[in-house]
């Protein structure tokens, strides 16, 4: 679009009438460029998931046959999905992911709502520093911390345990969720809490009766974020979990369905799609919250 309009010669032509006409033409071209770009982008963006779906519906024999296009499925079968769903190990991954995610989301939300309220509305010695600290913490990647955490988690005897993951995942979720919540709480007008204070409400009541209900969209956005991050976490489980019965889905699919030397691509793709399903479903239904949470930091500034 930028290049199209920049190249359009009409813009430099003099004459008001012509200019209006050329503007309309320019708009039409812009629209066409926009749709063409979006179609191309959508094809590129959706091709890998589509190909994963296609592969997951094929039999091993069809996958192994290099003749013909790999992009269509000739004899669709659900056997890969059935094999996974009926496999207690795979169901175990699912339950582990659910347990870990539920625990982490609860812990995260309690920590960050309390902290955000305290940082946005109350204050104490060093609270400004702490707010900056939250921001900086969010910038520290998990790949910097996993080696010392490996030693620490090992020292606590929590290697190969989902509770070890529940312990360390908050490093991924708490800073950003606190960050989102501070923004939402800060946008609530001061008059509201002054009124509440005059009515004799204490701080806890103010939080539960006023702030949480008013900032509910923010809480949903933060919850979705915490959910997505703990569902997709990869570095920590790769480093801390090696026993199949304690693995969450992401690492379970990557490490257990990839057999070193002989493995079933159909099942692998089916497993990856099944594992990706919960975030996609949440996203499909709550897309607006999702995006609101994502952009909250940026647009508020």
């Amino acid at each position: 679009m930028m290049s199209a309009s920049a190249a359009s010669p009409s813009a430099v032509l003099p004459g008001v009438a012509r200019k209006v006409g050329s503007l309309r033409k320019e708009r039409r071209w812009a629209l066409i460029t926009a749709y063409v770009s979006l179609v191309v982008a959508a094809i590129v963006m959706l091709a890998p998931p589509f190909y994963m779906l296609i592969t997951s519906l094929k039999t091993s024999a069809e996958i192994s046959n290099p003749v013909g296009t790999p992009w269509i499925v000739r004899n669709p079968t659900l056997e890969n999905y059935w094999a996974l769903i009926s496999d207690p190990m795979f169901r175990g991954f699912f339950f582990n992911s659910i347990k870990i995610t539920a625990a982490v989301v609860c812990v995260t939300m309690v920590i960050s709502v309390l902290a955000a309220f305290s940082l946005a509305r109350m204050k104490f010695f060093g609270s400004g520093l702490l707010a900056t600290g939250v921001f900086l913490t969010y910038l520290v990647p998990d790949t910097l911390l996993f080696i010392p955490l490996y030693q620490i988690v090992g020292g606590l005897g929590l290697l190969n345990s989902i509770w070890g993951l529940v312990l360390v995942y908050p490093t991924l979720t708490v800073p950003f969720c606190t960050w989102i919540m501070i923004g939402y709480f800060a946008s609530i007008p001061k008059e509201l809490d002054e009124a509440a204070l005059i009515d004799g409400a204490n701080w806890m009541q103010m939080l539960t009766k006023i702030f949480i209900p008013v900032a509910l969209p923010g809480i949903i956005a933060a919850t979705i974020f915490a959910f997505t991050v703990s569902w997709a976490a990869f570095v920590y489980p790769t480093a801390f979990i090696t026993r199949p019965d304690e693995m969450p889905l992401t690492i379970g699919v990557v490490s257990q369905l990839i057999r070193g030397d002989t493995f079933a691509w159909g099942q692998l793709m089916a497993g990856a799609l099944l594992a990706a399903l919960p975030p996609v479903i949440v996203y499909a239904f709550l897309m607006d919250y999702y995006i609101a949470g994502l952009t909250a930091g940026a647009t508020k500034g």
Binding site: S60, S64, G157, N160, T242, G260
Partner: protein, 452 residues
Amino acid sequence: MAGNRLSRRTMLRSGAGVVAAGTLGAPMVHAQGTGGSLRFAFWDHWVPGGNDALKKLAADWGEKNRVNVSLDFINTTGNQLQLTAAAQAQSGNGHDGISLTPWDVGAYADRLEPVDDVIQRLEAKYGQINPVAKFLAVHGGKWRGIPATSGTQNKPACVRFDLMQEHAGIDVRAMWPASGERGPGADTWTWDTFLKAAEACQKAGFPFGLPMGQFSDAVDWVGALFLSYGAQITNAKGEPTIKGNEKLKQAIDYGVRLSKFLPNDVWAWDDASNNRALISGKSALVFNPPSAWAVAKRDNIAVAEKCWTVPMPAGPAGRFLAYLPFTTGIWSFGKNKAAAKAMLEFFSQRESAEFTTNTSGGYDIPPFATMSDFKIWETQNPPVGTIANYPLKPHHQAKTSIAFDPAPPELASQMYIQALNTKVIARVAQGGETIDQAMGWLEREINNMRRG
């Protein structure tokens, strides 16, 4: 529990029962516990159903000896098994015993229970244990683990005999028949012949599928290639023996020349890529255990029918066969070490080993040369005898080998994981360095590993 040792006769009976029963047993056996409980971590077998053998054996043994046995199977994908062993060795708690990859026995020798008594009895019965397995398991004069059958594999050549005949003019079935003798031309099966065949097949559009990346298939076959040129990278103390090492230079040079006739992306192949190359029908030869053939049999029978396993080619220093042995170690911090030993001894009996090998479709290689005559290797088909030459047999006139032999285990395991032997070839063939530059890099890399 040591006194609980099973007599030869009960052993035979249970072995026979095992073979007859066949199918999988529950991994957990609740017997009236007088013998306590045992928990083992074994390598998660790549052959579908391959774990069932150990499950069944453990169940039978546990029932007979009133021990609650539970087994975990841990994959080597992403080095999980190695990581589990490392974590348990460090924390001093975990399973009673665990499958160890080749060099890990030495790395954790001081935390492993000596098993010399078991080995003595086994060797008295079945003869010497494979020398490579022994080299890896014996530290400080003591056996620190029992060489395992399950998971232990050779990596001979799995050849598409039709393509080899058509394009390279070599009849591998005549050269290495299933009958256990050398056929005509077996003496010419050298790396030089191999190179010519590789070129011919590549020209015909069926390049050999030899991985050159960082996974064990690649490291193992290149390790065997180096040894067959007499090329050692370090001595037994771990000091690099690279400068002016003409044999090493020759081996690297050969690897570089050979790689010209391989697919251009072998540098990134993993353990499965060579299998896929074979199964897709695009490749005339891979170095692999029979799993590649077995999956072809399932998914692309037309390819499987044309496969024939033959020994690796010979070099100036002899014929070496890439060998990846697993060793089962018993942690010295375990609570039930006597029972653990007794169970592993039972697993090592000929009947148990044969059952294990049968369950894996002939994939598993027992550590005793006297057990290279299991029927399954003769009978597997199509075509009948296709993996007859998979175990090392006397007429191959070959030795098993492990990459980076004879380095000390701690260094060797790092070199193995970092795949220094394939990388040194890749630096020349793909990176455009001279052999001397690449060897200089190799020496510096090893010195860096030894520092600190």
